[in-house]
């Protein structure tokens, strides 16, 4: 992977996280208690079970290396 590709992946990833944070309330309303995989302002796939989500992504031949996967919930957790 070239330097430019590394920088591109990281920059896109940061933009994806920014989008997620801006749309958090809408995402919680639509996908409460689900794992979502998102990229470039879109939710690509979702499921309440992480392994089933990974399987769906595999079946769609989606490269997960530059995807962000997060769990959305109305309940905030404390680490």
């Amino acid at each position: 992977m070239t330097d430019a590709q590394i920088i591109k992946m990281l920059t896109k990833g940061q933009n994806d996280l920014k989008w997620f944070d801006l749309h958090l309330n809408e995402l919680i309303n639509e996908y409460n208690e689900k794992f979502i995989a998102f990229q470039e302002d879109n939710v690509i796939e979702f499921d309440s079970d992480l392994n089933k989500l990974m399987k769906k992504l595999e079946n769609k031949n989606i490269d997960t290396s530059n995807l962000i996967i997060k769990f959305v919930s109305k309940i905030k957790f404390i680490l």
């Binding site: 590394i6 920088i7 940061q14 996280l17 794992f35 079970d49 992480l50 769990f71 957790f77 680490l79």
Partner: protein, 152 residues
């Protein structure tokens, strides 16, 4: 001026997005979001990210038990990872690479609800990350600003 690594504030938490790889585990470069957790002495790859990265944790040696997010997990020893992180540079985009020690967390629970709870938890970078990488943490929430600074 020392190099800075920008952090993002996502869901009210300080987050570092890294491109991680580990040739020993056959993990090619993948994006992983880490929460900077100053309440943790150590750094961990959470179960969700272990699944995404396809890190084999089943038969790996464990280092004991750790309590995290209200539950208990086995601490699995992993080889070091290469991290690629964006640097804060107004003139051009640049990155830095670091060698980082992480442990994987694995739940021993079998109920769907407990496994989902384990999968929901994020990967975290604790104080050992800051110490080992000689980084200082800077946070000014009133300006929505947070970054790590590389100390000499």
């Amino acid at each position: 001026m020392n190099d800075r690594i920008p952090l993002q504030i996502i869901e009210g938490r300080l987050v570092l997005l890294a491109l991680v790889e580990c040739r020993h585990l056959r993990v090619r470069k993948q994006l992983v979001e880490f929460v900077i957790d100053t309440g943790s002495p150590e750094s961990y790859i959470g179960q969700r990210d272990s699944t995404k990265l396809q890190i084999p944790v089943k038969d790996k040696k464990n280092e004991g038990i750790v309590a995290f997010g209200g539950s208990q997990y086995k601490k699995i020893i992993l080889p070091p990872f290469n991290f690629y992180l964006l640097k804060q540079d107004k003139q051009k985009n640049d990155y830095i690479s670091l060698k980082v020690n992480l442990r994987a967390l694995k739940t021993s629970k079998i109920s769907e609800q407990k496994i989902q709870a384990a999968d929901a938890l994020p990967s975290i970078l604790g104080l050992n990350f800051l110490r080992e990488q000689k980084l200082s943490l800077h946070v000014v929430l009133t300006e929505d600003m947070a970054y790590l600074q590389i100390e000499d």
